[in-house]
């Protein structure tokens, strides 16, 4: 490092660790992966589907990191941040795939930082305001349960890139769900007060669960070709898992998932999404020339 100016030292070319001070500038999460589309699959459809799955993960990750510095225990903060990091990684791969599939060549940053709220394709439960820790537990339980069931089947997708992302994701989602289950049991079967807070969280989360199993026309078309998974097909499986967890946690058996209609998948969101994106996109929008 030259001289006594720390900034100069950091921005110079180095062989040592300091060269990473401003990132590698490396943004292609799918570099060198064979990105040919499977025969018969429409690129625009596949790109939208990748955005749906990618946006679910990206928006949920951004919500989860709001617990950092604010969780009941340091260990839980670290846990939620780690789960968010896994989801962010899944989002990066899926959004990179979206940019290849639709032929625009947009990179992950173009999707994450340069789209408005109505262009996001996530389900509304992922953007719901954070709430208390019981809300975080119930939301994570439902979302990880649904995503684990989807990805388990998506590992057999006719799109080899989606299949690989899903097969990898299953290993991560399995311990996300395990974490949510462990807290659901502790809080549900804990004190009368923790039990009551869980009951309130379930009541708040439940109306948003129907949308998780509503089929978008893009999902239906791609599922017919074996490239996607129709979310309606995992509805019973996810409900059975939640029923077992709720019973063990001494909570009332969960109500059936409400009949949901497609909303977030078509860009129709709650007012909670725009402020979340403002926070997520602020640095990138203010410094469009920045790299990381």
């Amino acid at each position: 490092m030259s001289g006594d100016n720390i900034f100069t030292g950091l921005v110079e070319e180095h062989q040592g660790d300091a060269r990473w001070a401003f990132g590698t500038g490396f943004t292609d999460a799918l570099a060198g992966v064979d990105t040919t589309l499977p025969a018969g699959v429409d690129g625009a459809d596949l790109a939208l589907y990748c955005q749906m799955l990618g946006d679910d993960a990206l928006v949920q990750a951004q919500r989860l990191v709001q617990w950092v510095t604010d969780a009941p225990e340091l260990e839980e903060e670290v846990a939620l941040a780690n789960i968010a990091l896994d989801l962010l990684g899944q989002a990066r791969l899926l959004l990179a795939r979206a940019g290849q599939a639709d032929g625009t060549g947009r990179d992950e940053d173009a999707f994450a930082y340069r789209r408005a709220a109505h262009e996001f394709r996530n389900v509304r439960l992922t953007e719901a305001p954070r709430g208390d820790f019981a809300h975080a537990v119930v939301t994570l339980l439902v979302l990880s349960g649904q995503r684990l069931a989807l990805f388990g089947r998506l590992a057999d997708s006719t799109d080899p890139v989606l299949a690989a992302i899903a097969a990898k994701g299953v290993n991560e989602l399995a311990y996300h769900r395990e974490y949510a289950v462990s807290w659901a049991l502790r809080l549900g079967d804990g004190t009368p007060y923790s039990h009551e807070r869980m009951v309130e969280a379930v009541a708040d989360v439940w109306p948003l669960t129907g949308e998780l199993f509503a089929t978008h026309p893009v999902e239906a078309r791609l599922a017919a070709q074996g490239a996607a998974v129709d979310p309606a097909t995992v509805r019973d499986e996810v409900h059975a898992v939640l029923t077992r967890v709720f019973t063990e946690a001494t909570l009332a058996a969960p109500a059936p998932f409400p009949e949901g209609t497609v909303a977030g998948r078509d860009g129709r969101h709650t007012p909670a999404l725009a402020p979340l994106l403002d926070e997520l996109q602020k640095v990138a929008r203010e410094h469009p020339e920045a790299t990381w």
Binding site: D17, T24, G32, A79, D86, G89, G152, A167, E178, Y179
Partner: protein
């Protein structure tokens, strides 16, 4: 006519890539971690290196790519392409015996056998089914888990009840 690339060129490129270390576990090389999948030299003389991510969100991957590129160039190759291989997914079973030895030597408990899943939905487990790691410092099996999540995605936090020291464990995945 295709001329065969001399074996020693490929071996030289492979050795350079294999020696790159993980910025978050600097005692381990990419070869120790098992993420270096293969190294080839194509007809134009470009060295192609395939690596597999450990976790979807592993932030060290970008650094490792750039380090591989730099290391292979440093042994005399002008054209290098570092490629991602997503499938099959990385598992801790790919960490070599040498890698496990180095982890223990640095006070980190190496992973046990990764869970094997049958086809179909992932079964719900209501109780932790994880193996209890031995203390890498005193070897005792009387240890407890402090947190399933640690400073990096790949590690959990534990404490030894025998020597009372805390330690990290590389999680089975």
């Amino acid at each position: 006519m295709v001329t065969a690339t001399p074996v020693r060129d490929v071996e030289r490129a492979r050795a350079a890539a294999a020696a790159v270390t993980d910025p978050e576990l600097p005692m381990l090389t990419l070869a120790d971690l098992g993420i270096l999948r293969r190294v080839e030299i194509d007809e134009e003389g470009t060295v192609q290196v395939w690596i597999t991510p450990t976790y979807s969100g592993c932030p060290a991957l970008a650094e490792m790519r750039v380090d591989v590129d730099r290391a292979v160039r440093a042994v005399g190759f002008d054209a290098v392409r570092v490629r991602t291989e997503l499938s099959p997914a990385w598992t801790t079973d790919w960490i070599t015996d040498e890698g496990r030895r180095k982890l223990t030597e640095h006070g980190i408990s190496p992973p046990g056998a990764a869970p094997r899943r049958a086809a179909g939905p992932v079964p719900l487990t209501l109780l932790p089914t994880r193996t209890v790691p031995h203390c890498p410092l005193c070897g005792s099996s009387d240890t407890e888990e402090l947190s399933r999540f640690g400073a990096t995605s790949c590690k959990s936090l534990h404490r030894c009840r025998a020597c009372l020291e805390p330690f990290e464990h590389v999680k089975e995945i």
